[in-house]
Amino acid sequence: MANLSINIHKLELKNPVMTASGTFGNGTEFDDFFDVSQLGAILLKGTTLHNREGNEYPRMAETPSGMLNAVGLQNKGIDYFIRHIYPKVSEYKTNVIINVNGSTVEEYIELTEKVNQLDKIPAIELNISCPNVKEGGMAFGTNVKMAEKVTREVRKVYEKTLVVKLSPNVTDIAEIARAVEAQGADSVSLVNTFLGMAIDANTMKPVLSTITGGLSGPAIKPIALRMVWQVARAVKVPVIGIGGIMNATDAIEFILAGASAVQIGTANFINPNISVDIINGINDYMEKHKLKSINDLIGGLQM
């Protein structure tokens, strides 16, 4: 067994494989399939201060090698989470991370303060890149000034590991990454979904109730990989790679490009066991290539 453990700031991961927010429920939905404590970390679904019903159905469109979603952060709010879900998920023997969302800086702060009280949550992922909400969301992630501001303010009230999740819908993602790093982000995760659209030619209508939605899955992998590579060269903090990872080879590509860890998203829908399979696949690859530690693989791209 190769040494897969890696630290992201104060966060200690037994391996670099996490699940992506919004694609893994609260983790408990996977209990039937495998022991989620095997993972490096699990990212809970996007959480807001108050209950959100999300967008109208239809919220999904299948696309070539991918899918669009327009869930819109449906969740019951942080108080419900603390009361009903936290007790269960804090039993897991892995890092449980909350994906923090707000429509104003104040909301981000208030939510973060509440999460800060939770002993068993060692990190938050600040989602400034949700394309499916009317207010806030992606607006924070596509504007340097706003990305800086929300990171700075949240940093003030949060001392544990602060990961900022970046939007790919920008001209220069490295610029945003550098900006949030300068404001105190301990890590950046990328990418969130690409803003896309699907039309039903038969009905002449948009497929999604919200017209546009977020594109995920292998279709976006080449762009996500490029962005991770660019950001890894632009910042000093560890980078978490996300986007269309379907198997161990994909995950290894992100790590070679400079990611210290990866998140598995849409692939969970197709194969609920995929995240453990990927851990095993990375281990096999490292043994084959005689790499002792995952550190030998991170940014190992040869040019």
Partner: protein, 258 residues
């Protein structure tokens, strides 16, 4: 039984008519306690047009031979591919998924209403209800005589009534035009699966007749086990996932304008 991801082997693929196929799948994991109305989510590999899994109602469970069958209506690339599979081909399947119908009690008089491929969950429902001692009536709707399938199989478990849009068999019109639904026949429960307009019409009728009614929805799904939140339907308790809180809902819990 617990949800599982498993490779099932096709034992038989029967062409029922021009666009319906019955696939019988051998399981290597012991099947137990599957509830009528539950569904499976099938990975259609080897097809460029299908990225996500495809959900299908469990048509029948054969505990004896440890197999389940699904009724597949060809509507697109995924179902096309499934219809072309042959015995000994394997399929990767997540199952059993969803809640299933609330089963009737002995002596209850129940009506199962299936429209189009919505008849799929009704076979196991009819079988199990009959076994529980209920009096089973089955109303099947389709476009034409040619589109009606499996009538004989259904009639093994209850009295079958038919409608067709063009009147080529049974009562002409929609299922809601059939006397068995129009009159109060003393049903204790109505169970329905089919196109949404049909289910709404049946739900309305059930409400008028003051009969308890469950419908099985077929919202588009990405995961099928409650993690993507794509498949929601509005209920009196907010948005609920059709794949886990459903696919079967009591019509009183849905926010349908009926």
């Amino acid at each position: 039984m617990n949800k599982t991801v498993s490779d099932l082997t096709i034992i038989k693929n029967t062409r029922l008519n021009h666009d319906n196929y019955l696939l019988e799948l051998q399981s290597y994991i012991k099947l137990e306690g599957i509830i009528p109305g539950q569904f499976v989510n099938i990975l259609v590999s080897d097809s460029q047009a299908t990225f996500l899994r495809r959900p299908f109602s469990i048509f029948e469970v054969n505990y004896h031979q440890n197999s389940i069958s699904v009724l597949v209506k060809v509507v697109g690339p995924g179902t096309e591919k499934l219809s072309s599979l042959k015995p000994s081909d394997t399929l990767n399947v997540i199952f059993p998924l969803g809640n299933g119908f609330s089963m009737p009690m002995a002596k209850e008089k129940i009506l199962l209403v299936g429209g189009g491929v919505g008849i799929a969950p009704m076979m196991q429902m009819a079988k199990d209800s009959r076994e529980l001692g209920a009096e089973v009536h089955i109303l099947l709707g389709a476009r034409t005589k040619m589109d009606h399938i499996l009538i004989e199989e259904f009639s093994r478990f209850g009295t079958v009534y038919l409608t067709s849009d063009d009147g080529s068999v049974g009562v002409k019109g929609f299922v809601t035009n059939h006397p068995v639904l129009l009159q109060n026949n003393g049903f204790n429960q109505i169970y329905c699966c089919g196109p949404e307009p049909m289910m709404k019409a049946v739900a309305k009728k059930a409400k008028e007749l003051n009969v308890r009614c469950e419908v099985s929805l077929e919202n588009a799904m990405a995961c099928g086990f409650g993690v993507c939140l794509c498949c929601v339907t509005k209920t009196t308790g907010g948005n609920k996932c059709v794949c886990t809180d459903g696919p079967v809902f009591n019509i009183n819990d849905l926010s349908w304008p009926i």
